[in-house]
Amino acid sequence: MMRAKTCLLSLFLLGLSCLLISAARSGQASPFHPAFALLDQQGRNVLDNGTAVSPMRTCGQCHDTQYIASHSFHAGAGTGGRPEPEGRTVLRAWDTGLGLAGRWDPLTYVMPTAVGESSPQAGAQWLRQLGYRHVGGGPSLALSGNQAEMNCFLCHMQDADNAARIAELEAGRFAWAATATLGRSGIVQRTAAGWKWDAAAFAPDGKLAAARIKLGPPSSANCGLCHGVVHNAAEPLALDYSLRNWSTETTGQVYSPQRLNASALNLADKEHLFRPWDIHAERLLDCADCHYALNNPSVSREAPETQPEHVLYDPRRLTHGQFLQRPRHGFAKGDSAQGLVAPATDHTMRGCVDCHDAERTHRDWLPYVKRHLRILSCEACHIPHVYAPARSATDWTMLTASGDPRLEYRGIGQDTAPQAGRFPPSAVMTGYQPLLLPRTAPDGTSKLLPYNIVTSYYWIGELEPAAGAAHAAAQPVPRAILQHAFLPLGTHAASLVAALDTNGDRNLSSAELILDTADKVQVAAKLLEACGVSRPKITCELAPYDIHHGVATAQWAVKSCADCHSADSRISSPLQLGSFLAPGTTPAQAGAASVVLAGALRQGSDGMAFAPSTATAGLYILGHDRWLAGDRLGGGAVLLALLFVAGHGGMRLLVRQRQRRRGGDR
């Protein structure tokens, strides 16, 4: 009876979840969402006074938005101090937290802004500069004077106008960011005087049909607005390179069902690249299928370590109504090397083996399946190549004439950088083979996972000491000081030109803006010291970025034994890092300590490279690694076997000859 009830309940949940999920898959608005009034922060209908919409108030009419915002690591962005649990992360001295708001990132070069410690001006500056990566709420709310609320529309509305949202944030009109997100729906228009609601789009009672703005579960496209390129359209894919497409910029990951050769990119050997950018996108999986809300009753599950042995399925969970009221926005996640927020929810996401039976699908052809699966992540073989270019280095030690850092990319010709976000059409994109590094799971096991490493160079130095402190703490030299020091009049300082201009044209090209000798470093350091920076020093960081998207089917996966079990095994293939290493600098790893940079740095004429070492990773790869004693033992065994065979054969021959002689005698 109990079992029957459980089955019925399961079927009901499955049916309901199908309906909910189908709304997202079919690109339709949720069929259940009722009409609702758009409210401002005072709880009045926005039509009354033409005020900005408040997502917290509007969605809060039915959903517990306070609960949602307080359980969202997207909103929280790692605020709340500087936890460093058991040395799992490599934090800098000036980091104040694990997320966007507290952890400094050399790619954005925006100093962390601790809520409550910053001036309103500093907070607003942070929001203007990094608001494009933040959904609102959390630090944004605090730093904007309670204006930049968590923006529900950004993730739950099809065709959200992210560009308009970012424009409002960058302009400092934080309260209007959520309203701007509705810009493409036609219910509100941008006018010279600001945003104006179209009353005709609303019902006479002032309510708006949910279908009018296509509200529903978040699609991959919604996630892609902040996380990277998601392309579901029929138009050929073109890539915009900037930190707004974070994962694409840092790793080259693209989530799209489109075939590579149908894209608008100048890919090498494009004609033969008929695989989709990501097979899961092609098979219609959305981000939320793996990164689901942890209390979603359709898919939530208990961690194996806490689930009793006798229980396979625990039906005691939220009803869908309860879930819709208080969906926990701490989403199931993995263990990203650079995404350090919410460590308590690491490894909660649905992984490859939750859907695929890897052992079964590989046992027909792969010898030692269990051994392979114990050492290799699925991604190690199923993401053999990243086809889009990715950032390889960010060099803040010397600014370009436009005041920007010098950028390097891998997977495209050397010294090729995007102009206005696009690589030149003539540049051939070769992509790159990711680095395979061991990552240690909480249970102590380690698997090889594909990574890109982004090298960052920047100056740290001591500025004004804090009150009562003898010395100021070292921190990255602010961008304004870098500009003042290196580009005092909008052009490079004369001393820099004298030191760096190798071709004598009185201009510093990108290739010349490299501090690769002690003399050059000295010239730049003096300029910084002249601007009040004490003890300036170049720091070099190596940030591994893990790669989980861009998955290929078996046809495109690594299958040849020789790819790994040979002298030039891909497991030990080196990855070119930055184009130089400043004298006296030792690169340091940034991010999660669970990733082990198992290998050695090599510096050559073409710059710095990282060469993985199987020995350092604790691996012995047949065909690649040599164990002298083992080789000798094996050789000896072969010799012994040969000797035995020869001896046995010889003895039989002797016996036979003797028998013949005896026979002849007879």
Binding site: C18, I21, S22, R25, N232, P257, P276, R283, L284
Partner: protein
């Protein structure tokens, strides 16, 4: 000693080899093998005719006489086919109720509308000589045009306005000496140029197929298949069927003539084959390089619009729309067709289907097929309410006089359909199944092309409850009247 053991050694080695081979085949096979090359027809041995035929020839009929000396049955075979008669099937006449023969000869289309009264122009694609009006002698074997299908120089062309006669200047002896097995170029001479120009009519056949790459058509481009490899021919009866002129419900050319019915390595793809035609996935787009005509509005003809543009406007013909890289429209199709028949009443307020493919989601036999839908606006008798064939070509025709009334009277005299004296223009649709321009499998449709948020299929319009990926296929949803073999209940 060795000699005594040799037989045992050989036997053991052979057994081991056989076992190894069988094991290998077993491992590699894993299911039904799709080996289409084994199923390709064998062509007869080629023979050069350059030494067998000698001229000069004073007429094309003289060439035919020469051919018939060695191939006496050939003309008779050709004359029994629709390539000669331009009619093949039967239907019941809406006017008389009598059984009538139908075909290209008397059916109406929404391009140039109809053959009757326009024969001298249209017969430039007839496999014969001299069909200029209804007096043409269909029993005269000498009028069979052997050359258009068999010459191989590429220099043989017909006079576009000459009722099928060769153009002036054709070296008849040279082309006669060149005869060979037909190639794509021979078939394409007419079939690529249907509608009066390259790529106009079909959408999935055009001049790029003379020398295609695999991107245009994988069969012709990568494997150099000729038309008759699929349109298998016996005694000049060429396999296949054209939806625009035939109402036979069975085609004698199919993918499964060479391929397995379940050819995919992935079972999930094979599960599609009961409801989805091969073409639906393997011809993702048509008119790959050359644009095809998508619409033709005759009601705009006769205006002095300059400059005229062959792809936009022609005073003689009206306004056009062309497109390339076109995504097909998908319909259920069970192989049969509902033709518009001469004299059939129409509703001028509705779109008239010239040849609506039959089939619904409920018919087990029906599959989703890709179609080019050519939309037209063409002339009809406003009182009798049926489509008319105007005389467009030749003396008194519309292209000369720009007088619809006169053109309809002249057309009426040829078709026998009474003309009331009042005419109008009505919207029509004509369906062209897309079966050529098969893409390499690496370019076939993927899951997201149909099942994604921006998928190309409107599931509910096709009769499904929703995307079958989420709601189940038509069998699971109980939409099919009879179970299909191999489909899960």
């Amino acid at each position: 000693m060795l000699n005594r053991r040799l037989p045992y050694l050989v036997t053991t080695a052979t057994c081991a080899l056989v076992a190894l081979t069988l094991t290998t085949i077993g491992c590699a096979g894993g299911g039904q093998r799709d080996n289409p090359r084994l199923n390709l027809p064998r062509h007869p041995a080629r023979a050069s005719h350059s030494g067998m035929i000698s001229g000069p020839f004073d007429s094309p009929q003289a060439v035919t006489r020469a051919c018939l000396k060695c191939h006496p049955a050939a003309a008779g075979e050709v004359m029994a086919t629709s390539h000669w008669t331009w009619e093949s099937d039967t239907a019941q006449s809406p006017l008389t109720g009598q059984t009538m023969r139908i075909g290209k000869k008397n059916l109406i289309n929404n391009y140039c509308i109809g053959v009757q009264s326009n024969e001298p122009r249209c017969m430039s694609c007839h496999a014969g000589y001299g069909w200029k009006d209804s007096s043409f002698d269909f029993s005269n074997a000498e009028n069979v045009d052997c050359l258009v299908c068999h010459e191989s120089t590429g220099t043989y062309v017909k006079d576009p306005n000459g009722a099928g006669m060769p153009a002036a200047g054709v070296d008849l002896e040279a082309v006669a000496k060149s005869v060979d097995l037909p190639t794509r170029r021979n078939c394409g001479y007419c079939h690529f140029a249907g509608g009066g120009g390259d790529a106009v009519k079909h959408g999935d056949m055009d001049g790029t197929m003379n020398l295609p790459n695999s991107r245009i058509d994988v069969h012709m481009g990568r494997f150099d298949l000729q038309c008759q490899d699929c349109h298998r021919t016996k005694q000049h009866v060429i396999g296949g069927r054209l939806l625009s002129v035939s109402n036979r419900s069975e085609s004698d050319a199919a993918c499964t003539d060479c391929h397995s019915a379940r050819p995919h390595a992935q079972e999930r793809l094979n599960a599609h084959t009961d409801a989805v035609s091969c073409q639906a996935c393997h011809i993702p787009r048509y008119a790959i390089e050359t644009a095809t005509k998508m619409s033709w509005d005759w009601s705009q003809a006769g205006q002095d619009i300059t400059p005229e543009d062959a792809y936009l406007y022609d005073k003689k013909k009206g306004r056009f729309e062309y497109a390339s890289q076109v995504i097909p429209e998908y319909l259920w199709y069970d192989g049969s067709v509902e033709h518009y028949l001469p004299g059939q009443r129409i509703d001028p307020a509705a779109v008239v289907s010239i040849n609506r493919p039959a089939g619904t989601i409920h018919a087990a036999k029906a599959k989703l097929w890709p179609f080019k839908v050519h939309r037209g606006k063409q002339i009809y008798d406003a009182v009798n309410r049926y489509l008319m064939v105007p005389k467009t070509f030749g003396p008194g025709g519309y292209w000369t006089e720009f007088d619809w009334d006169q053109a309809l009277r002249l057309g009426s005299a040829s078709t026998g359909l009474p003309y009331s004296g009042k005419y109008g223009f009505v919207a029509t649709e004509m369906y062209w199944p897309i079966t050529h321009m098969v893409a390499p499998k690496s370019a076939a449709l993927q899951c997201s092309d149909c099942h994604g948020a921006n998928g190309r299929l409107d599931w509910q319009a096709l009769g499904y409850e929703g995307d079958p990926l989420l709601y189940g296929g038509r069998v699971q949803a109980g939409l099919v009247t009879a179970d299909l073999p191999g489909e899960r209940p």
